[in-house]
Symmetry: C2
Subunit: 384 residues, 2 copies
């Protein structure tokens, strides 16, 4: 197994990209990443996308994208793992380089979600839950995460204000990210008074529907000098599943799959949670960021909410989380999210994050999950 580095990243401004198709936005980000790395030929590519069949009547994306990217005859793979599709594409690209079967590999993610009606988007997203036992009973994702929020509040005393502080912090960060979907400062009261979606979650607790893509280029760590930019080393990769349905879990206030994936990534990296300088985590709902920050070991169980409210996860805090703006403000084109997290990590580790740049950014962690945590991916990157 060889050491692997990220040598290029690319993504466009996310939002409602009505004038562009799925293939347009993927290729746009892929070309930005290839230009950033200084490569024009790939050995292989991995494309993460959750449901292009429902959102855009187009499966077989890897063949389409390899073709439209001008990468004739390369092996290309589409992976799907609901909202963790991007993180999974990154892991498989890492494995391809690490194993030695490929040298220059693109990992990308894409979702074009705004070309369908709201009902159809909700349906497409609900296919990430257990449709037989959850979806067919009428529950969709805001409802599933609302149940987790209620459980966390009951068990630990997590408050409505603590949840709101996650959204406020991520919108603050998004103001400094030119590619974020929303550039909108919000207050705790804005969140608490916004329209109810699924009690206790309001609309400003929820990540949005977004069009967008992101791409990164990987190569063996000892080839980095051949390319344009400094490389960032992938030192940990962890992947785990959990029960897809919430009713099969012993504790709704925890995410065991995330904990498993994190344990595997920490072990491979030889790092402990306190050695991580900053993280991008999967804040599909505010409660998700709170529980994930506990599952990753940044806070003891039940202390994620107070920690967020106290500013420990803000840019100047002990463990900055979602400096990119997170899913909440940057947007959440589901298949692209896991790759965009790697984009933010790489830019921070290279010192290229502009106004968002952290003073201390030597080790970063990305956590991406599918459904209500039925799949979890954790990656740890370090400056070289």
């Amino acid at each position: 197994m060889r050491d692997v580095a990220v040598i290029g990243v690319g993504m466009q401004k996310w939002g409602e990209l009505w004038e562009k198709s799925t293939r347009d936005i993927f290729v746009e980000s892929a070309l930005l990443a290839m230009d950033d790395a200084g490569v024009d030929r790939l050995d292989a590519m991995y494309v993460g996308s959750m449901s292009p069949g429902i959102f855009a009547s187009q499966e077989h994306l890897e063949s389409l994208m390899a073709d439209y990217l001008g990468q004739k005859h390369i092996p290309a793979t589409r992976v799907e793992s609901a909202c963790a599709s991007g993180g999974l594409a990154f892991r498989l690209a890492w494995l391809a380089v690490s194993s030695g079967i490929s040298d220059v590999v693109l990992a990308g993610g894409v979702e074009k979600m705004t070309d369908v009606s709201g009902g159809q988007a909700t349906h497409a997203l609900a296919t990430a839950a257990d449709m037989k036992w959850e979806g067919m009973s009428g529950v969709t994702f805001p409802g599933l995460y609302a149940m987790m929020a209620v459980a966390h509040m009951a068990k630990y005393g997590t408050t409505r204000r603590q949840l709101a502080s996650v959204a406020v912090k991520n919108h603050d960060n998004g103001l400094l990210n030119p590619r974020a979907q929303f550039h909108l400062k919000i207050s705790i009261d804005d969140v608490i008074n916004s329209v109810k979606v699924a009690d206790p979650l309001n609309i400003l607790d929820c990540s949005p529907i977004t069009d967008g893509a992101a791409a990164v280029i990987l190569c063996p760590a000892d080839h980095v000098k051949k390319f344009k930019k400094p490389g960032v080393k992938v030192i940990g990769s962890g992947h785990a599943t959990d029960t897809i349905a919430l009713h099969d879990r012993a504790d709704l206030a925890a995410l065991k799959g995330v904990g498993e994936a994190a344990a595997r990534a920490y072990k491979m990296a030889g790092k402990k949670p306190e050695q991580i300088d900053f993280a991008e985590v999967h804040d599909c709902f505010t409660i998700a960021e709170v529980i994930v920050s506990e599952a990753l070991g940044f806070f003891p169980a039940g202390k994620g909410g107070p920690g967020a409210e106290a500013g420990e996860t803000a840019r100047g805090g002990r463990i900055p989380i979602n400096t990119s703006g997170g899913l909440k403000s940057k947007g959440h084109p589901v298949g692209a999210t896991g790759i965009a997290q790697i984009v933010e990590l790489t830019e921070q580790l290279r010192g290229e994050a502009g106004e968002r740049q952290l003073k201390k950014a030597r080790v970063g962690l990305a956590q991406n999950m599918g459904g209500s945590g039925g799949t979890a991916l954790v990656h740890i990157l370090e400056v070289m």
Copy 2:
């Protein structure tokens, strides 16, 4: 990179399995494969499925299937590559074992296609083509392969009878496969007189809509003795793409992506086409088997049709093709097809193919493709 072996296979009888859900049929095949290998715990699994979102309103299959198979917290991956999803799942499982990150890995495929209307099934399958330039113009897969058939007939003189002989041979083979969807002897005249689908292809030139799954277990070749059954070695794996749309190809009478994938697999295996004893190929339409048999090097370009008519690809012929009955008779649950090919290879190489058993079966080849050849996977297996 370690040598890898297949140590267990499983699949149920395919057809319209109306009393079973997607999860039921996947887990049924997976348990058969695990029992065949004598394992009850997996290190990882790869699930190939083309469009469960459209066919069954369920994405995130890998999490669901790991959960329903009782494999708590294992890393699980869903891959999609249209009708090559199964072949791609097998390749990634091979890579996981070969690279050393996993020891006991399940590769499975599944599709439940009969729970939607015929129009919706045709739509789901059409998402494997270029929807912008092909699908939206009204062409679906029978039309795309019909254009390839017309081109092959014009360039090489391939005849209607030659195409029909492929279907007749595959139905003959399917009569001996207890798991085949159709046990129905047909004649050349039956094919030629069957209802027209897209000129020159009739209904008996086309593979059917099917419910089904298949699964295989892989492990490092030097661990085989720990398990129940003899292993079969994976000696070649080739993966390539081609343009997704037919209009971008220089020659409609060839499948360059298949040729590329085959060249990569032959090179890795150190074998030539004449050293292959038998093959399972992707006969989604009769013309596909003809062109593929040329792309794999079993026949010179243009000689696949006459070769099929002369019986060279029959069980007693020079290069037996689709002893399982192929997609035509065994059925074509799209995500499962690539794995079912490995099931047939393994059973033949182990001498367990019953009435279908070939006298000489030491090296077998499986070729699986997506769309109109926009993706191609070729694997070569050998007795140990």
